[in-house]
C-alpha cells in the first residue's frame, strides 16, 4: 500500500508539471467563467445555457485531461526508462499500475473540483439575475444547486472510468493509438443505450446481429448514465440511492478495466 501511495503521489505532482494539462484546466475554467456570455445564444433560456456550457466544459476538458494524461502515464515511464528503476525497487507491477492510476484519479479529482467550484461561483452570481429577467422566473429551482453538485460528482466518476480505459489502452498500444481508442470508447459509450435498443428482441434483424449488439451493450461502459442534466433542467430531485447505484456501476467498470490492465501489463515486456 505504501508503494502505491508513493507512486500515486509522485504521479499527482508530476501531472501538475505537465503544461498541456494545465492549459486544458485553464481553458475549462475560462469557458465556465464566460458561460454567462454564451447564455445569450438562447434568449429566454439563459440559465439552462449556463448549466449546459459549464457542465459540458467540465465533461469535455475533464475528458481531454483523463485521456491525454491516462495514455501518457505508463508509456512515458517506459520511454524514459524510469520504469526499470522503479520496478527494480520493491514495487510490483500491480502496485506501479494502480499507483499510477490513483495518482491520475487524484489529478482528475482536483481538476473537476476546481472547474466545479468555478461553475458554482458563476451560477451563484448569474442565476438570480437571469431568473429575474426571463420567463425562467417561473422556473422552479428548489433542487437545482444540489443537482449541479451531484452532476459534478458524477462527472468525476465518469472520468474515473475513462481514465482507467486510457491507462489500460496505453499498456497495449502506443499512447496516440490509446488516446484514439479511448475517445472512441467514450463516444460510443455515450450511445450505449442505442445498442440496447438495436438488440431489442422485437426488432426485425438477424439473431446473430442482435446477439452481437447485446454483447457490445454489456461490454461497453455506459457513459450516458452519468449525465443527469435532464434532472437539473426539470428541477427534479435526484435520489441519493440512484446516485449510489450509478457510482457503484462506475466503480465496478473501473475495477474490471483495471483488472484487465493488470493482466495485460503483468505479461508485457518493458
Amino acid at each position: 500500500m505504501r508503494a502505491i501511495y508513493r507512486v500515486a503521489r509522485a504521479t499527482f505532482h508530476e501531472a501538475w508539471r505537465r503544461r498541456f494539462l494545465n492549459i486544458f484546466l485553464v481553458f475549462g475554467i475560462l469557458i465556465i467563467g464566460s458561460s454567462w456570455v454564451f447564455a445569450y445564444l438562447q434568449p429566454g433560456a439563459e440559465l439552462k445555457m449556463i448549466i449546459d456550457v459549464s457542465l459540458g466544459s467540465i465533461r469535455f476538458f475533464g475528458m481531454l485531461i483523463a485521456v491525454f494524461m491516462g495514455t501518457r502515464l505508463i508509456p512515458d515511464e517506459i520511454e524514459k526508462r524510469t520504469i526499470h528503476t522503479i520496478l527494480t525497487k520493491p514495487v510490483s507491477r500491480a502496485e506501479f499500475l494502480f499507483g499510477k492510476f490513483l495518482g491520475g484519479i487524484a489529478t482528475i479529482f482536483a481538476n473537476v473540483a476546481l472547474m466545479g467550484a468555478a461553475f458554482l461561483i458563476v451560477f451563484a452570481i448569474k442565476a438570480p439575475q437571469f431568473r429575474a429577467m426571463t420567463t425562467e422566473g417561473s422556473m422552479s429551482m428548489e433542487f437545482m444547486t444540489g443537482n449541479i453538485v451531484k452532476a459534478v460528482i458524477l462527472s468525476f466518476f465518469e472520468l474515473t472510468v475513462l481514465m482507467s480505459i486510457a491507462v489500460v489502452a496505453s499498456t497495449v498500444f502506443s499512447w496516440i493509438i490509446a488516446a484514439i481508442f479511448s475517445f472512441f470508447v467514450y463516444f460510443v459509450g455515450q450511445m450505449a443505450e442505442f445498442f440496447n435498443q438495436l438488440a431489442n428482441p422485437e426488432r426485425d434483424i438477424p439473431a446473430v446481429a442482435k446477439a452481437l449488439l447485446g454483447v457490445i451493450y454489456k461490454l461497453l461502459p455506459h457513459f450516458e448514465i452519468f449525465d443527469i442534466r435532464e434532472a437539473i433542467m426539470r428541477d427534479q430531485f435526484m435520489p441519493w440511492n440512484v446516485m449510489g447505484k450509478i457510482v457503484a456501476q462506475g466503480l465496478a467498470y473501473t475495477l474490471i478495466v483495471m483488472l484487465i490492465g493488470y493482466l495485460i501489463f503483468n505479461d508485457r515486456e518493458v
Binding site: F38, L41, Q42, P43, G44, A45, K48, M49, D52, V53, L55, G56, R59, F60, M63, T135, S138, M139, S140, F187, Q190, M191, E193, F194, N196, Q197, K218, L219, H222, E224, I225, D227, I228, R229, E230, A231, M233, R234, Q236, M238, P239, V242, K245, I246, A248, Q249, A252, Y253, L255, I256, L259, I260, Y262, L263, N266, D267
Partner: protein, 351 residues
C-alpha cells in the same frame, strides 16, 4: 499456482465481474427510465424520424455541430442549428426541407428550449400551410404543426407557454374553439399572462357556447374588475345572444331564430350572430338552414375556418358535394385532441 493458472483465473474473474455487474446496470437503466432523466437520445430519435420522413435527409448537420453534440454541449449544438435555421430563413429558404429539418433537429437536441417549438409549430401551421393550395397538404401541415406543439408540451409540461401556443393555433388557425379552450385552460394552470383567461371566454363565445363564455368573462372580471373587454363582452352577450340561447334551450327554435335575426338585421355579417343561427338550426334539426348559416359565415370571412368546416360537416350529412377545407380534413383526422404523445411513440405503438 503457476503463472498460467493465475492468468486464466484472472480472466475468469474479469468475465465473472462483467456478468455480475449486469443486474446493477439494468437497475440503473430502469431507475433512470422511471425518473425520466435519460437524455433525449438524438441519434436514435433522429433515425426514427428519418424513417418517418425519408425526404428529410440529414443535410443540416455540420461537423462542428456533431462535435458539439458528442462533446456534451447539446444545448450549444441546438443553438448553432437554430442560427443555421435563421441563416436559411434570411436567404429565403425558410420553407425548404433543410430548414424544416434543422428546426426539427433543434427541438430534438434541446427539447426544453421553448422558442424552437413555438417557431416550428407556427412555421408549419402558418407558413407551410400557405405554401400549397392542396387542402390535403394543408391539413398535413396543420397536423405537423399541432403534433410538434404537443410534443413540445410533453417535454415542458409545467410551463404555460406551449399549452397557450397550441391553444392559439387551434383558436386562430384550425378554428377549433373547443380544442382551443381545452389547451388554454391547461395553460392557465401555471403562472400566465392575464389575456389567456379572456381567450378562453372568446373561444367559447365563437363556438358558440354563451353560458360558458359568460362564466369565463365572469371569472376574468373577478380576477380583474377593471377588465373592460370582459365587461363589454358580457354586456353584448347578455343583450344580443343570451335571450336567443335561452329560447333554444327551451326548444323554442323559431323564436330563437327570430331573436337572432333581430340583431342580424342590424349587423348582417356578425360572426357570432351567424354562428348562433347555425347552431340553433342544427339543434332544431334543420340541416339546410344550418348549412346556409354556416356557409354564409364562412363566406363573410375568408379566415372563418370554423364556419367553413361546420358547413362542410353538415354538407356531408346532407350529401351535398362541397369543396374540401383543410381545417375540416384536419379535424376529421384528429378527433380526440388532448392526448399528449410523441410522434415516435405513436409510430412505435402502431408497430
Amino acid at each position: 499456482m503457476n503463472r498460467k493458472t493465475k492468468k486464466i483465473t484472472g480472466w475468469l474473474v474479469v468475465i465473472a465481474l462483467i456478468i455480475a455487474v449486469q443486474p446493477l446496470a439494468r437497475r440503473v437503466s430502469l431507475d433512470r427510465l422511471v425518473l425520466g432523466i435519460n437524455p433525449p437520445t438524438p441519434w436514435t430519435r433522429i433515425l426514427a424520424r428519418s424513417n418517418q420522413d425519408p425526404e428529410l435527409a440529414v443535410t443540416g448537420v455540420t461537423g462542428v455541430i456533431v462535435g458539439a453534440i458528442l462533446g456534451g454541449f447539446r444545448e450549444v449544438a441546438a443553438s448553432m442549428l437554430w442560427m443555421k435555421t435563421d441563416t436559411l430563413w434570411d436567404k429565403g429558404e425558410g420553407t425548404h426541407a433543410q430548414a424544416l429539418w434543422t428546426m426539427r433537429l433543434t427541438t430534438l437536441l434541446d427539447p426544453h428550449w421553448l422558442e424552437p417549438w413555438r417557431i416550428t409549430g407556427w412555421h408549419l401551421a402558418y407558413n407551410m400551410f400557405v405554401e400549397t393550395d392542396d387542402p390535403k397538404e394543408k391539413a398535413k401541415f396543420l397536423q405537423m404543426g399541432v403534433d410538434s406543439l404537443k410534443e413540445g408540451v410533453s417535454w415542458n409540461p409545467d410551463r404555460y407557454d406551449l399549452y397557450f401556443e397550441l391553444g392559439w393555433t387551434y383558436f386562430d388557425k384550425v378554428r377549433d374553439y373547443e380544442e382551443a379552450a381545452k389547451w388554454m385552460q391547461a395553460a392557465i394552470q401555471f403562472p400566465h399572462p392575464e389575456y389567456i383567461d379572456r381567450m378562453i371566454a372568446h373561444a367559447f363565445e365563437r363556438l358558440p357556447d354563451m353560458p360558458r363564455a359568460l362564466d369565463w368573462y365572469d371569472y376574468c372580471l373577478k380576477r380583474n374588475p377593471t377588465d373592460g373587454t370582459a365587461a363589454g363582452a358580457t354586456i353584448t352577450i347578455r343583450e344580443r345572444y343570451l335571450p336567443a340561447w335561452k329560447l333554444m334551450e327551451q326548444g323554442k327554435y323559431d323564436e330563437a331564430i327570430a331573436a337572432i335575426d333581430k340583431w342580424l338585421l342590424v349587423e348582417p355579417n356578425s360572426t357570432l350572430g351567424l354562428h348562433m343561427k347555425g347552431l340553433i338550426y342544427e339543434r332544431a334539426g334543420n340541416l339546410e338552414g344550418a348549412y346556409e348559416a354556416w356557409k354564409l359565415a364562412g363566406e363573410t370571412s375568408a379566415l372563418n375556418a370554423h364556419a367553413q368546416a361546420k358547413a362542410v360537416e353538415i354538407a356531408h350529412k346532407l350529401g351535398k358535394p362541397v369543396p374540401e377545407v383543410a381545417q375540416s380534413l384536419f379535424r376529421e383526422k384528429a378527433k380526440g385532441g388532448m392526448g399528449i404523445s410523441r410522434p415516435e411513440e405513436e409510430a412505435a405503438k402502431k408497430n
